[in-house]
Amino acid sequence: MTKSITTDELAKRVVNREETLILDVRNTDEFDDWKIEGDSVEIINEPYFNLLDGVDAIADNVNKDQEIIVVCAKGGSSKMVRDLLEEEGFTHAYDLEGGMKAWSEHLEPVKIADLNDGGSLYQFVRLGKGCLSYMVVSDKKAAVVDANRMTGIYERFAEEKGVSIEHTIDTHLHADHISGGRQLAENTGGTYHLPDKDAEEVTFDYASLEEGTDITVGNTTIQVQPIYSPGHTIGSTSLMIDNKYLLTGDILFVKSIGRPDLAGKAEDWVGDLRETLYSRYKELSDDLIVLPAHYSFVDELGNDGSVKARLGDLYQRNSGLQVEDAQDFRKMVTENLPPQPNEHDNIRQTNMGKMNPEAEKQREMEIGPNRCAVHG
């Protein structure tokens, strides 16, 4: 019997809301910063080095015939603790292969909709980090929006669907994760699109993502219409698909709004953010389905594991959209912000092509939560 489980198996359980008990054996600072979350997940933290002389601390609280999944940073300590638990008579102890590092890289694809003219729209949920990316598929062609660094996942998915990736699009210059957009376009011979205003310092060629310049996917009429929506970054651009799906990037989330400070320009961009959220988006149809580039809380996941909401509903219940007074709004998005994402400046430099860290360094730079939102 195998005594390890993969991130793929664990992701399915989280999405399907199966009862899961996790023992996280990383040290408590790391655990408090970032951990596996899910509606059906119960998690306890006990650093592995406290269990070397015995697992009593666990045995006192968990039945030995209960299933328990041990998780650590990279997958080494969790195997050791799983063995220790087995020696103490635990019959259903498992370890998570690759630990939190692998969990951070897992993408779970969820179908959002069938599009007009036979295409489909998929959302890729990065459970370990709260990042959302998208693939528009139509007539053997595909476009990927806000691709993560793990480009192989999109390539394999495209291969399974029998489509070729012709466009990769970043709604903005990301600060919380390393974009896979440029690499994916290189691998597939596609075109990488980025808003000009976020690309002033980039060291590579790209196509401008500009309002009014549609991007056609396949031979059909699925079009991606960029809508300039500054605030999180000066160049942030939203995309509209099928006149029904609004990809908001890091401007508007389901339970929160984008933060304007990750490039050190909160004061400059707060006005843009307000204009986008309180005017530009408000002029759009209430029936649009908002598809953001992030989520913060696991309860934002719907029953099918996707993250989405009707724009009109967000104007009713997203606390970031209920602040009438402009000064109060300014205060909310510039003061008492959560800590900035780990390595956000180096991640921006990497996404501009100014830094080229090795693959292993890139993985390390991304460890931790995304923290791109302001919660009102």
């Binding site: 790391e30 592995y48 080095f49 070397l52 990279k74 050791m80």
Partner: protein
């Protein structure tokens, strides 16, 4: 700096071995004596610090040179 009575070479070892070996090594020295640990696993930095605190020992000093992490731990 006080002289270490023992040097543990944990270079090239992956988590959890640096902490496991450190724990064994510290059992072999006397209270008040200092153990010097060399490691290359980046996780050792936070883990050895946390382990030292949880065991009541004292992290007297730590350095990082050419990707080698060095720790001096005084046994409680």
């Amino acid at each position: 700096m006080m002289e270490a009575v023992k040097v543990l070479d944990a270079k090239g070892m992956a988590c959890p071995m640096p902490v496991v070996k450190t724990k064994k090594a510290i059992e072999e020295i006397e209270s008040g004596e200092i153990l010097e640990v060399h490691a290359t696993d980046k996780g050792a930095k936070s883990d050895l610090t946390a382990w030292t605190n949880s065991g009541g020992h004292e992290l007297v000093d730590q350095t990082e040179e050419n990707d080698v992490l060095k720790f001096w731990i005084k046994k409680s």
